[in-house]
């Protein structure tokens, strides 16, 4: 068997203490994470947090300033052509040729890729209602985005990377598009990484989340674990609670004497009892939606 870096167990993408400095400013710092085959990773961050910089380094468009970044077991910046062909990329600003029609643009890309899957593209053109007969310059933002995504899917990539996909799509088109991403990831060994600021999309289809804040990971791991780890706890005590609660993993805290609300990371169900005993308080626990978690981690 060929060792191409995707044999079972070895990650598709591997980042180790990755740093990137642009114009004297550190835009990525100490980024470490792996992506296993079959994962759907959602990359979440505010504008300017470093999402696009991370994607650029990951795809080998620019070299890391420190640390390492590999895809299919090869260094990203010197990725061999064979490995590049296994990647599909949808940039934030599409690179469609305005003067061509959709059909011409598809034909052009099909000619460049020997393994072009015409039947998949034909099906998606129908399902996504992509107009092929008009010139690209007259297409709407959503139509352009669909076409750019088709171009990245046609050669059946093992790794699909999308920078802010679906942001111009209406809810119906977005849901179909997300369904398609799920389908792609369910083919064995396909992997999807997408950056987004639309938290509800990520909550549905990602199994891994990378939250990037000021160039660093605030979280890189399972979405399930993130949702279990971060909770809002309300303490209601008979007597006044201490001003400073000193609870491990506190992200934010509010208190008005006998009642306190604390957002915590590192939650385990056993902690409910511990807190109740420690503060002689009734303790209720709320799970937070990803949007709230995101806001709390940025507070």
């Amino acid at each position: 068997m060929m060792n191409d870096g995707t044999a079972s167990g070895s990650p598709v993408v591997s980042l180790r203490e990755l740093g990137k400095v642009i114009g004297g400013k550190a835009v990525l710092r100490d980024i470490s994470a792996d992506i296993e085959a079959g994962s759907i990773v959602g990359l979440l961050g505010k504008n300017g947090a470093g999402k696009t910089s991370l994607i650029d380094v990951l795809l080998g468009f620019s070299p890391p300033s420190s640390g390492s970044c590999s895809v299919f077991g090869e260094r990203s910046f010197d990725l061999p052509a064979a490995a590049k062909r296994r990647i599909g990329f949808v940039p934030q600003q599409d690179e469609l040729l305005d003067s061509l029609t959709g059909a011409q643009q598809l034909a052009l890309n099909a000619a460049l890729h020997p393994a072009w899957d015409s039947s998949l593209i034909a099906r998606l053109v129908r399902e996504w209602e992509v107009p092929l007969d008009r010139r690209i310059q007259v297409l709407s933002g959503g139509e352009r985005q669909k076409l750019a995504t088709l171009l990245a899917l046609g050669h059946a990539p093992d790794l699909l990377v999308l920078d802010e996909p679906a942001s111009s799509l209406d809810p119906v088109a977005r849901r179909r598009f997300l369904g398609e991403l799920l389908d792609i990831a369910q083919s064995p060994n396909r992997t999807v990484l997408f950056s987004t600021h639309i938290v509800s999309d990520l909550e549905r289809i990602a199994n891994k989340v990378w939250i990037i804040r000021d160039g660093r990971f605030a979280w890189a791991g399972d979405l399930d674990m993130l949702q279990e780890s971060v909770v809002r706890v309300t303490l209601s005590a008979r007597d006044a609670l201490p001003q400073h609660l000193g609870i491990d993993g506190t992200v934010s805290a509010r208190s008005d004497g006998r009642r306190a609300q604390v957002v915590l990371t590192g939650w385990r169900d056993e902690r409910q009892r511990e807190l109740a005993d420690r503060f002689s308080a009734a303790v209720t626990v709320e799970h937070l939606g990803l949007e709230e978690i995101f806001l709390e981690l940025h507070s």
């Binding site: 759907i40 997300l178 389908d183 549905r204 289809i205 949702q227 009734a282 799970h287 939606g289």
Partner: protein
């Protein structure tokens, strides 16, 4: 069962990705409730991981995690080449202590609040009984 679950879309669950509760937990809770209420009887087939993932547009990993954990609990069973099914009743009944343990944390905080309000156990029990009967009403 009067309907083959494969002929109709698996609409038996309500999954809310934005609720903050991990989807696998929502699914596990709902299967447990549907079994407890008899809506899913022993032998009833569950939709496949792929069917649930497609129907609700959610990541399949979280669905297979739910099914895997329910299998460990003995509530569902895997059948070679066939859909998963609700396990025979005896195994469900054994899971009662396990189910009670799962609600213990909530009971603890309820008990604490009750003590703070100087409520007696019997009064609390009556209230719980009333509430649970309200929910059971058709």
């Amino acid at each position: 069962m009067d309907r083959d679950p494969h002929l109709s879309p698996p609409r038996i669950f309500t999954l809310e990705p934005a609720s903050g509760v991990p989807i696998y937990r929502q699914l596990m809770d709902q299967v447990r409730r549907l079994v407890a209420s008899g809506h899913l009887a022993p032998g009833a087939e569950l939709p496949s991981v792929r069917e649930v993932a497609t129907e609700y547009t959610v990541n399949p990993t979280t669905i297979s995690k739910a099914y895997g954990l329910l299998e460990l609990e003995g509530l569902v069973q895997r059948n070679r080449g066939k859909p998963m099914t609700i396990a025979p009743l005896r195994r469900n009944q054994q899971a009662l202590t396990h189910r009670l343990r799962q609600i213990e944390a909530q009971v603890d905080s309820l008990v604490l609040a009750a003590q703070q309000l100087d409520l007696r156990a019997a009064d609390l029990a009556t209230l719980i009984e009333q509430k649970m009967h309200e929910d059971e009403a058709p």
